[in-house]
């Protein structure tokens, strides 16, 4: 009897048995995709009223709020999402409302001007179709964040799409590459101050930050209010590191006759030589691999050294020729070694060309002998 009672009760409160969709049928499909549907959060949990009656008055009666306004949305969501006992079982943080209210978005909402343009929960997570962040169709998924933010911050999104971060995240699928929220925060989104840029970039580029802070540029940058990393690399449109950056950015502050330009050019030329010796070594290894000769060891050494060098290139932020040379020269040495070994292997391989004249000499001697023997046979 008790079983029957529970069965009837469960059927009654399941999201499929709500009567709202009799009229609001267009919402049903969106709602069915949402995480709230699978967790049995029904219409009346957000909109109030009674979801299990076909009587319109009863359905839209009581605590019914209809379409909530921007501020109301925050309240409706935080009913559950700020409740530790409701969120803890799912492992979902419950401080999002507090974070949001402290963020630039939250502060604007509280100020109360033009609040229709200020994003609240439903603008980024959708309203009926609320999906898990890990769902690839969620607008809050890492791969979609730039589009979601780009709805309002259009020019920033445009710039971001030209950046190396976008290239690695979207085109190469490297999830360690940052999107908007990795630098600005998500619920607690806030534009960074000029002194904080090194901290934000340093979340990933730790070694670079270390060298930058101990380098000669840090103090003058802070004093003059220059935007640290952004001053040379840009912010949303961060390009891949390139030697060309040395020519373009230094002259922004330094005149061409200054010592600083000489130093930067010296570092640039040294780096260029190092890259060239890597390219040469790589070409030689590829060349002898096609023969094919054994190159596993050479390839490994070359790639290990290159990856290690890329990781340590942050030393250039010290802007000291000696320090850079001290750190990078060992990799250049490895590249040159690999190249010499590859060339040696190729030359050793070429010694088999010597077999050709030897073989032809033997062939001609044999033919000569055959002709001689033939002459003898003829005489007989």
């Amino acid at each position: 009897m008790m079983d029957l009672f529970f069965t009837i009760f469960l059927i009654t409160v399941s999201p499929d048995s709500t009567k709202c969709f009799l009229c609001h049928s267009e919402i049903r499909a969106q709602y069915k995709n949402s995480v709230h549907y699978s967790e049995e959060i029904i219409c009346s949990d957000c909109h109030g009223g009674n979801s299990f009656t076909t009587d319109m008055k009863k359905a839209h009666g009581g605590n019914f709020i209809g379409i909530p306004g921007k501020r109301k949305i925050l309240k409706v969501c935080s009913n559950c999402h700020s409740s530790a006992d409701k969120m803890a079982p799912y492992g979902v943080p419950f401080n999002q409302e507090a974070l949001y209210l402290m963020s630039a978005h939250g502060k604007l909402l509280l100020k109360g001007k033009n609040i229709q343009n200020i994003p609240v929960c439903s603008d980024c997570h959708d309203y009926h179709d609320v999906r898990k962040v890990s769902d690839k169709y969620s607008p809050a998924n890492k791969m979609n964040i730039h589009k979601t933010c780009g709805v309002c911050h259009e020019s920033e999104e445009k710039k971001y799409k030209n950046s190396i971060h976008y290239y690695y995240l979207i085109q190469k699928g490297d999830l360690s590459s940052p999107t908007c929220i990795d630098c600005h925060g998500s619920h607690g989104a806030y534009p960074p101050g000029y002194k904080d840029i090194d901290k934000i970039c340093g979340k990933c580029h730790q070694l670079v930050r270390k060298y930058f802070i101990s380098g000669i540029h840090y103090k003058p940058f802070i004093e003059t209010g220059l935007k640290e990393c952004e001053a040379c690399h840009g912010n949303h449109e961060v390009k891949e590191k390139s030697l060309e950056l040395w020519d373009r950015t230094c002259t922004g502050c330094h005149s061409e006759k200054e010592e600083a330009i000489r130093v930067s050019q010296e570092i640039k030329i040294f780096l260029k030589e190092t890259y060239e010796s890597y390219e040469e070594a790589n070409e030689w290894v590829k060349k002898i691999e096609k023969i094919p000769l054994e190159v596993v060891d050479l390839k490994n050494r070359l790639e290990d050294a290159r990856i290690d060098m890329e990781a340590n290139l942050g030393i250039t932020h010290l802007f000291s020729v000696e320090e850079v040379k001290k750190e990078i020269e060992k990799y250049k040495g490895v590249f040159d070694d690999v190249k010499h070994e590859a060339v040696y292997k190729f030359k050793l391989f070429q010694t088999r060309y010597l077999l050709i004249p030897i073989l032809w000499f033997m062939i001609f001697v044999t033919i000569f002998l055959i002709i001689e023997v033939r002459r003898g046979v003829k005489k007989e």
């Binding site: 691999e289 096609k290 023969i291 094919p292 000769l293 054994e294 088999r352 060309y353 077999l355 050709i356 073989l359 032809w360 062939i363 044999t366 033919i367 055959i370 002709i371 023997v373 033939r374 046979v377 003829k378």
Partner: protein, 362 residues
Amino acid sequence: MSLWNKIIDWLERRISLNEFISFITSFGIFYTHIPPDKPVKEAIKDAMETISPSYARWPYMLGIITFLLFLIQVVTGVLLLFFYVPSIDKAYESTVTIIRDRPFGFFIFNIHHWTAILLICVVLFRLGRFIYDKVFSPPREIFWILGFLIFIFVILEYITGIPLPMDAQAGWLSYRIFEIFNPAPFLGVLNRVLFGAIKFGDVFILRNYILHVFVFPLVVFFLFYIHFLSVRKVGLSYGKMSLKSPFPGYFFEILITIFITFGVVFTLATLFPRAIFQEFVPYKNYTQFKVPFFLLFFDFLRDKLPLTLYSIIFTLFIILPFFLPWIDRSAPVPLIKKPVAFILYFGGLLIIIVISVMGLRV
């Protein structure tokens, strides 16, 4: 009676030595049949005294060189078989191991590669020479038909060998060659029956492997045998007939031919080895690799013509040449003495060459 004679005598009582020798010498060594009812020594002596043009002289030696190259392919191919593994995972690795780590593997692999190319060149050249000298007038139509069959099967042998190393070039060219053969009525059906849709896997490699190392070589060998038998029956083509037997000088000439052929193949294999590229990845494009030179013509047509027209032309190119002896009934004199035929043949050849060069851009 010396020991040697005793052995011969002993063997002759137990096996039909004449037939055995007749078989092995039919591959371009003895011009005439060795009758089975005579004692073997006498029969060989008779065969050596038969008056005939020397096989090892220009232009007859093209046939000998074809067979010689085929033999080199068999020997190097068997040596490669010892280390090659016909499976999608091991094919590339085992090929690299053969070339890089096995003693003489580099030479054996590259000699196999270059001999295949030379074989097709020589067979093609030989067909050209048949046309030029009008060798296929009766009763030698069979020379042309067999020569053309050998050409087709040598090509099949070549293209089934292409995917076996399974590097980027091998994999990509398998795709391209599949595209060329697939629209053709008969070969296309055969292609689809044998390979289905092209899908790189163990079975794809295995099918190519079986055809390459077993089926097609046997067919080519059989065709060579029939060809040499027909030479015994109807004699070599027209040329200066000497009034004495070419033996024993002929043996020495064959030996010299063998040495020089091997020297050429070895030199090419050492100086221009086939590069081994990265392992093939099925979803990548490798447009830098062009199809083999003898398929460039069809590659261009397939690219530019409607598929039906292309398949008709492809079929005609395979079927029509068999009927050439009945189509071209001109006098059996060199082509240079027949201006109309000369213009027709060389015009056709020139068109094929031009289209092939254009095919390089496809």
